[in-house]
């Protein structure tokens, strides 16, 4: 009980100190009233909140749509591979095979054409009429 009284005495001292620190009620109340004048009442805020929400949602939606369309248009054009036929692909395969043969015949030390093996590469005919290489490569990758 004595100890409780000690604590009470200490809290009483603290109360005295706090009272000296307390700003006046009128001052705080005046500031609160001034702040209230700038703050809409809770009921008013509810009535204006939904148009704001709708407007913000519309802005956000248009931003998302705009961003999506921008991403779509900014992608690089893909080559048109619809015109590449099976015959074109076969010609390309022939060219690749010929090149591989020539590479295998190179001298591994000098990386020059071996003088011992002189072989005319049998280039496929009609290579002039090939469609662009990029297109063919793309198609070749897709073909089974």
């Amino acid at each position: 009980m004595n100890e409780d009284n000690d604590l009470k005495r200490m809290f009483e001292a603290q109360r005295k100190v706090d009272e000296r620190l307390t700003p006046s009620f009128d001052d705080i109340e005046a500031k609160s009233r001034a702040a209230r004048d700038f703050t809409p009442a809770a009921s008013d805020r509810k009535s204006v909140s939904w148009p704001v929400t709708v407007a913000l949602s519309a802005i956000a939606l248009s931003l998302v749509v705009g961003l999506a369309s921008w991403i779509n248009t900014s992608r690089p054009d893909e080559p048109d591979v619809s015109s590449a036929s099976h015959a074109d692909l076969q010609k390309l395969n022939q060219v690749c095979d010929s090149l591989l043969v020539r590479i295998n015949e190179l001298d591994p030390e000098t990386m020059e054409e071996s003088s011992t093996v002189e072989q005319e590469t049998d280039w496929p005919t009609g290579t002039d009429s090939l469609i662009p290489f990029e297109t063919l490569r793309f198609n070749a990758r897709k073909s089974p």
């Binding site: 009470k8 100190v17 307390t22 700003p23 609160s32 209230r36």
Partner: protein, 192 residues
């Protein structure tokens, strides 16, 4: 924010619809010093922040953001509103100050003396001892002890304000009191 408390003891039910009435204002003015003391506790004894919190709490009361349902005592309700506001504000301030203001400055600000002409040196020392001991307790213990010793409230009233069960409040009260005594004894021993 709606603050509804369970105890039905209010004589201020008539004021529910008239927050601007003189009676309401008088009751608030009567509570003002205690309310500021409570705001100080909730704000870690930062005077400026406590004043801001009190202002915001009065503002919410006046705008009707915090509505008095008459289910508790008027003081209990006001203290509850202050606690809610203080917790919101204190969290914001702590986050901001962690980056902009060193702790030493905060401590200096908290101890800023305004006018202690009418406070004796002994009272000042006792308050200072109590302050430093209370700082070492948990928030809940500090709050319960303040409400019971400083505001002479019952543990039930304190539990009501803190929105906790009476059993929990009693536990905080007993453990807080024991810790506080221990800390004060240690401090006295160190001073001797």
């Amino acid at each position: 924010m709606r603050c509804l408390f369970v105890t039905h003891t209010s004589k201020f039910i008539d004021m529910v619809g008239s927050m601007e009435s003189d009676e309401f204002r008088k009751e608030l003015a009567k509570l003002h010093k205690s309310a500021f003391g409570w705001a100080m506790v909730c704000c870690g004894r930062e005077r400026d922040l406590a004043a801001e919190v009190l202002q915001e709490a009065y503002c919410r009361i006046l705008t009707g953001d915090a509505s008095f349902a008459g289910k508790s005592e008027f003081s209990t309700w006001v203290f509850g509103v202050i606690r809610h506001v203080a917790h919101e504000e204190f969290r914001h301030q702590q986050r901001r100050r962690r980056f902009f203001q060193p702790n030493a400055q905060i401590a200096a600000q908290a101890c800023a003396v305004v006018d202690f002409d009418h406070v004796t040196i002994e009272q000042h020392e006792l308050a200072e001892q109590l302050c430093s001991a209370l700082e070492k307790l948990s928030n809940r213990q500090r709050e319960v002890l303040h409400l019971t010793f400083h505001e002479n409230m019952t543990i039930e009233q304190a539990a009501n304000i803190l929105d906790i069960t009476v059993g929990s409040a009693r536990q905080h009260y007993q453990r807080g009191k024991a810790s506080l005594r221990r800390l004060l004894v240690i401090r006295r021993e160190l001073e001797q």
